[in-house]
């Protein structure tokens, strides 16, 4: 009986061997990179692995950064798990990641508990990714639309229901506004885009927006709901007279409203989006290396576009060995470098940080040291 099994196994052996050979051939060819080319061009001498966990909003930018960083430093692997901002901060504070990506800066409790993992200076955090949110509309014959925060709030609240409303006309004296009902499109799912949009309206539109700021769009305001960024863009594109908010990188050829800041109407440009960070004030009571900002949504700074999502990197002020310090410094410096920011802008549609802010951040990164 046993002999029988072995004889039978012998019959199987050739096919198994063939499979194994096939697998090995597959592994032998192919550069094992995204383009099939050998990317291990630049060897900077750095070796190791960096692990980050955090916001999924940064994922596309992170892909660009890790790709370019790996090209210049072939010995380094950067892992990023887009588990969400909250998960990122938690894992970072638990010592499971060297850095965190987060759409919100650490709150005071978290900043305090960071001292346990990072030493007496606590954590350093700085903005790395600014993503403008566009108010996109679909109106035949109207290319340019001026909207004040109050008007935007009332449109999404369902109080202004027609494009020829007095409030819209007042801001757009030259435009040919049709007699057409407004379809306000919002995100059906919980999202950072909705949260930032609501936060902007809450601060800039005064009493017009009275709902709690939350990742879910307030149900009582009505309007059309669409799933995901793509869903919102699709619905707005398909519906004449629709207006919606979405990540600027995704709106494509739709019209984008200019938003009233101070007494000007500001067009969405990368420069205008990063300007709002420059116009914001730092969160008080934090260490010198902490570049957490209270975003000035109601800024009157000329030329700043205030509907943005700002995402941070959180790193430790001290790490336990020189190797990690070198890795983190090289990595974070690349992320905020002109090259890194431009690469993210091309791949993810983000707004590059201003030169002034970048030099501030660089000082912070330079002050990361070995615990001792």
């Amino acid at each position: 009986m046993k002999k029988g099994i072995f004889v039978k196994l012998k019959h199987l052996a050739p096919s198994a061997a063939l499979l194994a050979v096939g697998a090995l051939t597959l592994s032998a060819c192919g550069g094992a990179s995204a383009t099939g080319e050998d990317t291990s061009g630049g060897d900077s001498g750095l070796q190791g692995t960096i692990t980050g966990i955090g916001a999924s909003s940064q994922k596309a930018a992170m892909d660009a950064w890790t790709a370019d960083f790996a090209t210049a430093n072939s010995g380094v692997t950067v892992n990023y798990s887009p588990d969400g901002s909250g998960a990122g901060r938690e894992q970072f504070l638990g010592g499971n990641a060297q850095f965190a990506g987060s759409d919100a800066h650490l709150d005071d409790d978290e900043a305090e508990s960071a001292k346990e993992v990072c030493g007496p200076e606590g954590a350093y955090e700085f903005p790395v990714y600014v993503s403008p949110i566009a108010v996109a509309f679909n109106l035949k014959g109207v290319d340019s639309l001026n909207l004040s925060p109050e008007t935007i709030a009332k449109i999404f609240k369902g109080e202004i229901t027609n494009w020829n409303d007095k409030a819209i006309k007042a801001d757009n004296p030259d435009a040919q506004l049709p007699d057409l009902p407004i379809t306000a499109v919002h995100r059906a799912d919980d999202s950072g885009t909705t949260e930032n949009f609501a936060e902007y309206l809450k601060e800039a539109a005064g009493d017009a927006w009275d709902a709690e700021v939350d990742g879910n769009f307030p149900k009582e305001y009505g309007g059309e709901a669409a799933q995901g960024t793509d869903g919102v863009v699709q619905t707005v594109s398909d519906t004449e007279g629709a207006i919606g908010y979405a990540d600027a990188s995704a709106v494509g050829s739709l019209g984008q409203a200019k938003v009233k800041v101070g007494d000007q109407f500001v067009e969405l440009t990368p420069d205008a989006a990063s300007k709002v960070v420059d116009a914001s004030t730092k969160v008080e009571g934090r260490g010198k290396g902490d570049l957490a900002f209270d975003l000035a949504r109601d800024t009157t700074e000329s030329g700043a576009y205030p509907i943005v999502l700002v995402s941070y990197h959180v790193v430790c002020s001290t790490y336990k060995d020189q190797e990690t310090v070198d890795l983190i410094k090289a990595w974070e410096k690349f992320v905020i470098s002109e090259e890194g920011q431009q690469s993210a802008a091309k791949s993810a549609g983000s707004a590059p940080l201003s030169a002034d802010l970048r030099s501030q951040i660089e000082t912070v990164i330079d002050s990361i040291t070995v615990a001792g």
Binding site: A32, S33, N79, N96, S249, V251, A348
Partner: protein
Amino acid sequence: MLTTSDTTSSRSRSLTSKQLPKATPWVIAVASIVVAAGISFLGLGRFSIAVTAVLAGAINAIAVFAISAAYEGRRKAVDRVATTVVSSAFVLACVPLISLLWLTVSKGGAALDLNLLSRTMLGMKGVLDQQYVAGEAGLAGGFYHAIVGTVLITVAACVISIPIGVLAAIYLVEYAGKNKLGKAITFLVDVMTGIPSIVAGLFAFALFSTIANVLMPEAAGIAKTGFTAAVALSVLMIPIVVRNTEEILRLVPMDLREASYALGVPKWKTIVKIVLPTSVSGILSGVTIAIARVIGETAPIMVTAGFAKNLNWNLFSGWMSTLPTYIYDSQLRPVSPGDAAIASSERAWAAALVLVALVMILNLLARVIAKVLAPKAGR
């Protein structure tokens, strides 16, 4: 046997005073589909598969009953309606399966090529996808690393769980009898069958985090490895292997064991030489079912092995990707958001096709092995 069926058929033949031709149900089915399509087209102004299918089912059942009742009588008509309903249910059950396969093959097949199979996501960025969508370059990126990860993690999970599972089943069937330990194990296995896969993932991650924290408190995030994922999958696999093996071992006739004992063969030798060889093909099918169940797991892998972009052959260090996590990540968080997200989606479909093919190959392989190893009947 022969005589009975002979008499039945001859008796039924004698009773066929009036019977519809054999092809009638098929003709009625085709006719009702045509009528349903016509109604859907007239009513909705366009052709809708869902409406047509529902209408066709209903019209078919009514028509079969009406025609059969008028020609063959009520008894036959009811029988025919029952046949129709059962067949319709079968067709209905096939619809999602075929539609899923079709979608995967058509969408994945369009994108799948050797480049995707031999490349990884190392150095992948949105610009490359934008160039692809603009028609300036070919589709970059691939999932070679995910295929390797899937195979390594699954093999490691098998290495852990098959010995444990099979030995536990042998204990339950051959040794435990009706003692308390056996009952406790059976109960625990039943409970384990029902635990959600994410819980298994969290368990493995928590276990290895704790171990890593004790052994190497300096290193951050070293608990996420392919091996941790394999342990998580083992937690899901073991109960299935135990359950299936147990069923198969109980099917081995008691006579075989008793014959062996009568010849003075010790118990362990009886199990190794008689019980296991007799049931080996069944055990292997059980193992294959278990593998097919865990190879498509997404949630526990995300928690335990992260999302790697590079090729990693080492189960014990560094993150790994598997095909399910690759599909999830590509579809949900494209490399380039906006218009070029379609490129990520294409890679995801191709990966889905490879995953389905992988599971199918495994199943076929198990069939072949089971057939080769099965003891010859009637020896």
